[in-house]
Subunit: 164 residues, 4 copies
């Protein structure tokens, strides 16, 4: 397989949260996606684009429209999106209803990358593999699986994604 | 996608090396694959089977025959194999020539999982995604990509895999 | 030097904060001090006693009285206290004014132990050394130094302790 | 306490070993002491001097003479030395017999700093505290304790230091 270039749209989420040691709170500083790709010795031709840097609980439909626009405008047909897990399913549905002909895979993390025992590296590896191998469509890649946008929900009690 | 169960065959490799603090050397104790799946919050139905626990430089054709036998005998049609990177391509070729009708993905790591800044979690996530999404065949999943067994070599100077 | 047993009073603070992956917030679960001593291969005769588990911004004078009582009642003459950094100086002053004849060293961390790049292990090693080697008195051990309780303040802008 | 400047002599040891991902072996690249001081938010006036970068099993009496010379020539009266654990006791004895009027503390690690679960940060914090607080003499700071050079041995079976 010689995949063409892949675009990675960064929107924030737990993935990129950091600890502010002066305030004792969590905040966004910048994305760690490039650092994570480097740690994973990733040699894909990947363009990392920071679209926004927010907690997905704060994501509005205007934000989703902006993400959809970036998906449409991007010359790449394979796009990975890092996203908070709380409303990942909503954004996936928004994109699923409005975009055709591209393979789009959303992923995120339950624990910030910077906090050591994160699922972030596993999920990023998984999402980048699915985005290369799956046919056009919008998917959520979490917990080692890929779910079609219209067959997934987040189980908030257990902190995992499941088929519907 | 509702993948059936996936078998993960463990053969050792850098992936699972640990530091012996009394001897000051690297050694194999046990596999970390189950711990890594747990850290990745992986919810695939995955059966982890330890076939051997060796440095891939020491792998013989008898070892490869044993791995091939385990691939054939396994009831699962999707199999991931953790393997040292030094002879991963040789084992992939051995399996590629002798097994049909199954999707088999080999992966490994350049740095032991236990040593902090490892590519292991990224590669495992990637391999498990490829094994679900790719058609039957034997592949090497490293550096964020999947290479067919007959189109890959390890570049030992750079420590990466590349297409041939 | 053959130090007698040392008591470690745990009061909470950033030291012991964890990330709640369901809520996306920081919380206290249990103390990590025993795990940290084990990681440090510490062979001191140390008794770890959990007095409370709170953010030091919430610490009241009643809490401080309780800590002081535990210092007085403890049979050991050398006591280390893990404490949030925000009001560590206040608690040190409270103890400095009310306890005599014991070496008491307070320490903490700017980043939770569980978040990877923490100063916690360094500070704990430092505090346990100072508590063995310093004469009776109450000290704050942070930033590699030991400050007497009446000669220290926290510089909140820089997140460090300094002499006054 | 307002300690004067402290000199940290780096000699190598497990402390500073790294994993060579191309060769799959352990090697010395450069010292991590400055990075460790930064991670520990250490504000001591510390001068880090790299004297040599070797496994302590390879340390000769000529090397020890060089370390002793650096201790004598240094303007500081408080000196910490990072050292492999295998012959730390021998070097401590060499210094103990030949240097007077300075507080010298040797420390090291059982696991490389770069390998995640290291005792290095704990030991460095401990050594820097002891070097400030102890009277002149030569000490080994390991396992949370400070041992006088003529009252310590390494228990190689258990990987710890103990009083003699």
């Amino acid at each position: 397989m010689t995949p063409g270039p892949i675009r990675i749209l960064v929107t924030g989420g737990t993935f990129d949260k950091e600890y502010d040691e002066l305030a004792g709170t969590l905040f966004f500083h910048d994305t760690h996606v490039a650092e994570m790709l480097s740690l994973g010795r990733c040699l894909l031709e990947a363009i990392v684009e920071r679209v926004m840097m927010i907690d997905s609980l704060e994501m509005t439909d205007a934000d989703r429209a902006r993400i959809a626009a970036r998906c449409r405008e991007a010359p790449e047909s394979r796009i990975a999106i890092t996203h908070g897990t709380d409303t990942m399913v909503e954004t996936a549905a928004y994109l699923g209803r409005s975009i055709e002909g591209k393979t789009i895979v959303l992923t995120g993390a339950m624990v910030p990358y910077k906090f050591g025992s994160s699922d972030g590296m596993f999920n990023l590896g998984s999402a980048l593999a699915f985005v290369q191998a799956l046919p056009p469509g919008v998917y959520v890649a979490m917990n080692g699986r890929a779910y079609r946008w219209d067959h997934v929900r987040k189980n908030r009690e257990r902190g995992v994604f499941e088929s519907v």
